[in-house]
């Protein structure tokens, strides 16, 4: 450790003033103004609302989904798995007692859509969380260290990215058995590489920045540089990617459930509802349309929100 610091000092010793200057510059993005945290957030939100009204609407839709999922037992009008035992309860069209009609077992579709948002959001949230954390770490380490580590990690990333998403997900879930946890695991494995790619690219840029060189000269170790300079600079692109991945994870979960390898059939999920009602599309459109609309609305909201967020966080792209 001491030797490393000494080396760094020796290497950079001919430009000591510059080191100090650039270290200050590196701090700058993390301390934009002397405003309080809340005030900054409010100002940011106002600006976001003004510049990206569509993004704000999308954000509200997302909020609505989250609230619905959390308060499902209150929002739902029926027990989502209670079957309709009386004549006429099967495939009944939308009415005041069943807002979205009933399915082929006489179950209330509205309540199932409401409960279905839970699985959709849980899977998407955990998938994005796991793949963001692990992907960013792998990418940052790979980009920063370079050399053999980078080569090996990037080839693994290449390999995973070369397999079509659904095929790989199907393979992993069939191997592990179908459960919500395994769907999260499978999708995380699939989405880690894209985060790793973005993180690595940013890291390559940052690694050669002068303030990093300076920091290294001051004796900062690899981990400290990745944590202190790398990751803070990665936040914006990763957040954008995460919000876009969120929608894709929702679709992937629905696709797996549609194929019968996602959530267990006893749990209401949108993909499984679409799959089991597809057969009745010509006699009961509502059994397919409502879960389909819920899924589309969710994915669209996340995509629009992701777009707006990208424009907001990275104004360079707008030009």
């Amino acid at each position: 450790m001491t030797a490393e610091i000494t080396d760094a000092l020796v290497d950079e010793s001919n430009e000591p003033e510059v080191v100090v200057d650039l270290t200050d510059a590196a701090q700058e993005p993390n301390a934009p103004a002397a405003l309080g945290r809340w005030a900054r957030m409010r100002r940011g939100l106002r600006q976001f609302r003004k510049e990206h009204p569509l993004g704000l609407v999308a954000g509200l839709v997302i909020l609505l989904f989250i609230v619905t999922a959390i308060l499902a037992p209150i929002v739902a009008t029926h027990d989502p798995s209670a079957t309709g035992r009386q004549p006429g309860q099967k495939l009944a069209s939308p009415s005041f007692s069943n807002f979205f009609g009933t399915d082929q077992l006489g179950r209330d579709i509205f309540s199932r859509v409401v409960y279905g948002s839970r699985i959709s959001l849980i899977v998407a949230t955990f998938t994005v969380l796991v793949s963001t954390v692990l992907g960013t770490l792998v990418g940052a380490v790979s980009g920063y260290l370079g050399g053999k580590v980078d080569m090996i990690l990037q080839r693994i990333v290449d390999a995973v990215m070369s397999i079509p998403v659904l095929i790989l997900a199907l393979f992993i879930v069939s191997l592990l058995g179908s459960s919500v946890t395994n769907v999260v695991l499978a999708l995380s494995i699939i989405y880690i590489p894209r985060f790793a790619r973005i993180a690595r690219g940013e890291m390559l840029r940052i690694r050669n920045a002068e303030y990093v060189t300076a920091s290294r000269a001051l004796g900062a170790g690899s981990w400290r540089i990745i944590r202190g300079h790398g990751i803070p600079n990665l936040v914006a692109p990763i957040i954008i990617l995460a919000s876009l991945t969120y929608g894709q994870a929702m679709i992937a979960e629905a696709a797996l459930s549609f194929l019968g390898v996602g959530a267990p059939i006893t749990e209401p999920s949108w993909g499984q509802m679409l799959s089991s009602s597809r057969e009745f599309m010509t006699v009961a459109w509502w059994a397919v349309v409502f879960p389909g609309v819920a899924l589309s609305a969710g994915v669209l909201a996340f995509n629009l929100f992701g777009d707006a967020l990208r424009d907001y966080l990275d104004p360079k792209l707008v030009q």
């Binding site: 079957t83 069209s93 059939i265 009961a284």
Partner: protein, 617 residues
């Protein structure tokens, strides 16, 4: 770039909204009609009285319906909905002189049977193995049925019921039974030749083939129990086979006609060739091409031994094509477009009604299925060895709600399928034994030591189609409502049928049972302590004795009484497997298909006499 993106998103949103609006608009009429139904049918759990009243009503409907479908099978078979398409040509061709003033359209049919053409059949699934000894799957049996034949077959025709067991010589010309019932002699046809395929190369069929087949079945076949009590098979000459028995075995002749009793050439054994993909038979059609899970095609056997009453060479048709299509909507579209002639897929009642409306000229056959759905209970795992727990399971199941909602009809079975109308106990008794009472189920569970509920894993597979999966969902909901805490393990078919169920690695199991055609198969095979299909660990000495006693009863009425007593004993004291529901099986035929009379056994009995109107059209 960004602007284009946004524009595209807005457009997509607009299109989606337009689609939604179109969908809503299209069915608005139905929507308003059904609103009233929705309102009147109170979905809350409080209306128990109403539910009971409805139950009663549907029970009565059920009885009437069952009578209509099993009691008068002529009516069912002769096409309840579309009798003309099936019967007219036959009558015309038999007695053309009696009908001089027949309408021109029927006249055309009376000109006679047309030959040639391809019959296209659709079914929901397939299986890799075509080995009749290795696989008991219905998929195997249906695929090989046009190719192989048995010593005795089931007769089919306009006057013969779907489940009627009218025996008809096939590869045997006749048979004699010794007075002591210990020896069965079959005389074989001497004009039958195997398909001209390596390594059999079209040689003549002889008693050596029959002996080789039966010996192999006794040694390694899943169907060995159909030949119970047989000690040896003799072939005294080329066209005689003698079966020697250790004791009387009443079901033997019926078993000979079972869809598991195909006769194979002797080359098929002792590593002669791979039976899983080479199929060499004596039947009217030869295997042509096969791609598992996609299609199996058959070509006419030019050397087939059978001719029709007027001396014409059978079969009439040139080819059969069996397609695997699992998607009901796809099947319906293809059927309406004339791409499929025979649909063996079972459709949801709503879709079938819609199809009947759109395509009224087709034949919509419906029969009480020869099988049943049942819940198997693993009696090696406590507390499932406790009869009270099994009774609780049975009481928890709303059979009618399940069957009428999902299948649109059907009946409550006993441990013998209702299709075996003579042998099954009457419907009233079945209803009595298999009641729906979730409160009583809870009480029994509490009595058995589980007042706070009982955890259990239930295995099932989605391979049996959407309706069975829906029934599984319904079952789990019912059990959970009656104090069970069920974890559903929906596994693939190979694991389900290949290991978990037969190796009894489960608590509870749900699925259809093979449509056995002999009450002995339903009872002894499944419930005797050494039964080949006792995948439930049932071990009841009294039941074993009863099951063995019926084997020796040759008098039909006496045997029926005994079989019914066994069912009563089993439902009271064993209640495993727990009978759940028998639905109405459906086959749908295009108007071109003539002289096809469906039989409950696996396969297409009488396929050699089926012909296509306008085979080139």
């Amino acid at each position: 770039m960004r602007r284009t993106n946004r524009l595209a998103r807005w457009l997509a949103l607009l299109v989606a909204l337009a689609l939604l609006a179109a969908a809503c608009g299209g069915s608005s009429g139905d929507g308003t009609d059904d609103v009233a139904t929705g309102d009147s049918a109170d979905q809350s759990d409080s209306s128990n009285d109403a539910a009971e009243a409805d139950d009663q009503a549907s029970f009565n409907d059920l009885a009437a319906e069952e009578q209509a479908r099993t009691g008068d099978e002529d009516e069912v078979l002769g096409a309840t909905e579309e009798p003309d398409a099936e019967e007219a040509p036959e009558e015309e061709s038999e007695e053309p002189a009696d009908e001089p003033d027949a309408e021109p359209e029927e006249d055309a049919a009376s000109e006679g049977i047309q030959t040639g053409g391809t019959l296209v059949i659709s079914g929901p699934s397939d299986i890799a193995s075509l080995d009749p000894l290795g696989s008991s799957s219905f998929n195997t049996q249906y695929r090989i049925a046009p190719i192989y034949q048995r010593l005795i077959g089931f007769a089919t025709g306009p006057d013969i019921g779907y489940t009627a067991q009218v025996l008809k010589p096939e590869l045997a010309t006749d048979w004699q039974i010794s007075d002591d019932l210990l020896s069965y002699t079959f005389n074989l046809r001497d004009d039958v030749f195997w398909h001209d395929v390596e390594p059999v190369n079209g040689r003549q069929f002889t008693s050596a083939d029959v002996k080789a087949t039966f010996d192999a079945i006794l040694a390694e076949g899943h169907q060995a129990s159909l030949l119970a009590n047989i000690t040896s098979v003799d072939a005294p000459d080329d066209f005689t086979v003698v079966l020697n028995l250790s004791g009387p075995f009443a079901p033997l002749l019926n078993n000979m006609a079972s869809h598991f009793m195909w006769i194979l050439p002797s080359e098929a054994f002792e590593d002669g060739y791979d039976r899983t993909n080479t199929v060499i038979g004596t039947g009217p059609f030869m295997l042509d091409e096969r791609e598992v899970d996609v299609t199996t095609t058959y070509a006419r056997n030019p050397n087939y031994w059978e001719t029709d009453d007027e001396g014409r060479q059978l079969p009439y048709m040139d080819r059969i094509e069996s397609l695997v299509i699992n998607d009901t909507q796809q099947v319906i579209a293809a059927f309406k477009a004339g791409e499929i002639d025979m649909v063996t897929n079972t459709m949801a009642p709503e879709l079938r009604d819609q199809l009947m409306n759109d395509f009224p000229e087709a034949f919509y056959g419906e029969w009480v299925d020869a099988g049943m759905g049942q819940v198997g209970v693993n009696m090696d795992r406590p507390p499932f060895d406790d009869i009270r727990v099994r009774q609780a399971i049975s009481l928890a199941i709303d059979r009618e709600g399940m069957g009428l909602t999902i299948r649109g009809g059907g009946t409550i079975p006993s441990n013998v399928a209702p299709a075996l109308a003579d042998y099954v106990i009457p419907l009233e008794e079945r209803q009595e034994y298999l009641q729906y009472d979730p409160e009583a189920a809870r009480a029994l569970l509490a009595e058995a030591g589980y007042p706070d509920g009982l955890d259990a894993t239930l295995i099932a597979t989605d391979r049996y189609g959407a309706a069975y999966t829906a029934q599984t969902e319904w079952l789990v909901e019912d059990l959970n409502n009656a104090g069970f805490n069920i974890q559903l393990d929906l596994i693939d078919y190979a694991t389900y049928f290949g290991s978990r169920w037969p190796d009894t690695e489960y608590d509870l199991q749900f699925g259809p049972q093979t449509p056995f055609l002999e009450p002995d198969e339903w009872l002894r095979l499944q419930m005797s302590s050494d039964g080949a299909r006792n995948w439930f660990n049932i071990d009841d000495p009294v039941l074993d004795d009863l099951l063995n006693e019926q084997l020796g009863i040759v008098d039909v009425d006496e045997r029926i009484a005994k079989i019914q007593d066994i069912q009563r004993y089993a439902l009271e004291n064993v209640l495993n497997p727990i009978p759940v529901w028998t639905y109405f099986t459906q086959w749908t035929l295009s108007p071109e298909v003539q002289d096809f009379y469906r039989h409950a056994s696996y396969g297409y009995a009488g396929i050699q006499r089926v012909w296509l109107d306008e085979p080139d059209g």
